[in-house]
């Protein structure tokens, strides 16, 4: 039963952090190239444009949800299960979500990269 809780927690973490990453990435694509904007309009233009973007706040909120659900999941399951499983599944989930929602061209090269990194993170974090 505890394992079910742990895996449920892991799924919530993965879902929340994928949503957060997608929203933050979309926000920054809407803001545009920070470097160009900075050299053209200054730091405050960059900051105000980022802070004025609703996707940015939704993304940060989702990240906070992911963080707190990590704390919950850690109380239900072992660190050696929860941390690597959540981290590596997030990479896989992000590859899917970036393809669907951000229209990124996730070609074979990137799929292989996502798999390799997910496997590596699982080994390192475990």
């Amino acid at each position: 039963m505890k394992a079910a809780y742990a895996w449920g927690g892991i799924l919530v973490i993965v879902f929340a952090s994928v949503v957060g990453d997608i929203l933050l990435a979309r926000a920054m694509k809407q803001v545009g190239d920070v470097h160009a904007l900075w050299s053209r309009a200054g730091l405050w233009a960059v900051v105000s444009r980022i802070l004025g973007n609703p996707n940015f706040f939704l993304g940060v909120t989702a990240m906070a949800v992911a963080f707190f659900s990590l704390l919950f999941a850690l109380s239900w399951g072992d660190v050696s299960l929860v941390a690597p499983a959540a981290a590596s599944l997030t990479f896989i989930g992000n590859a899917f979500a970036a393809k669907i929602f951000l229209h990124e061209k996730v070609d074979r090269r990137r799929w292989i990269a996502a798999m390799l990194v997910a496997a590596g993170v699982a080994l390192l974090a475990g």
């Binding site: 920054m28 990124e104 990137r110 990269a113």
Partner: protein
């Protein structure tokens, strides 16, 4: 790229220390928060000109640096399984770094600001619908 990596490493390793020392040493927490903010700022910056599927594998280099710090600075034992993990992550990052940084096509919702930013970088007006990868790689050189 290196400074990104270093900031992430600082973030992740201090995050680790943070959990351990949290209650005892406040300066560590402050440093950890500052580095966390630095990580977040550089992460946001990277996302503004590169794909999520490009940036994320790169941030995972933080795990590799963390393991190397543990090995050489903290004299911890790094097991063969973990070396394999380091190799896998490095291979994955190398894989994705060989490709283009930005593949997503600009959509209407990417609005004027994105186009203006491109104008500023090119010094010339950009037509709507120009594939972004024609413009961006100049900034992706290591």
């Amino acid at each position: 790229m290196l400074s990104h990596g270093m900031k992430q490493a600082g973030n992740i390793s201090l995050h680790h220390l943070q959990g351990v020392i949290l209650a005892v040493l406040n300066p560590w927490v402050a440093v950890g928060i500052v580095l966390l903010l630095a990580f977040f700022a550089s992460y946001m910056n990277a996302l503004s000109w590169a794909d999520l599927t490009y940036v994320l594998p790169a941030t995972s280099l933080g795990y590799v640096l963390l393991a190397l710090v543990a090995k050489f600075a903290l004299q911890e034992e790094v097991s063969p399984l973990r070396w394999l993990g380091i190799a896998l992550i490095s291979g994955g990052v190398g894989f994705v770094a060989g490709g283009p940084a930005l593949t997503a096509h600009d959509h209407q919702h990417d609005d004027k600001s994105a186009l203006l930013a491109k104008d500023a970088r090119n010094g010339a007006p950009t037509k709507d619908g120009v594939p972004a990868e024609e413009i961006v790689p100049s900034r992706v050189q290591p």
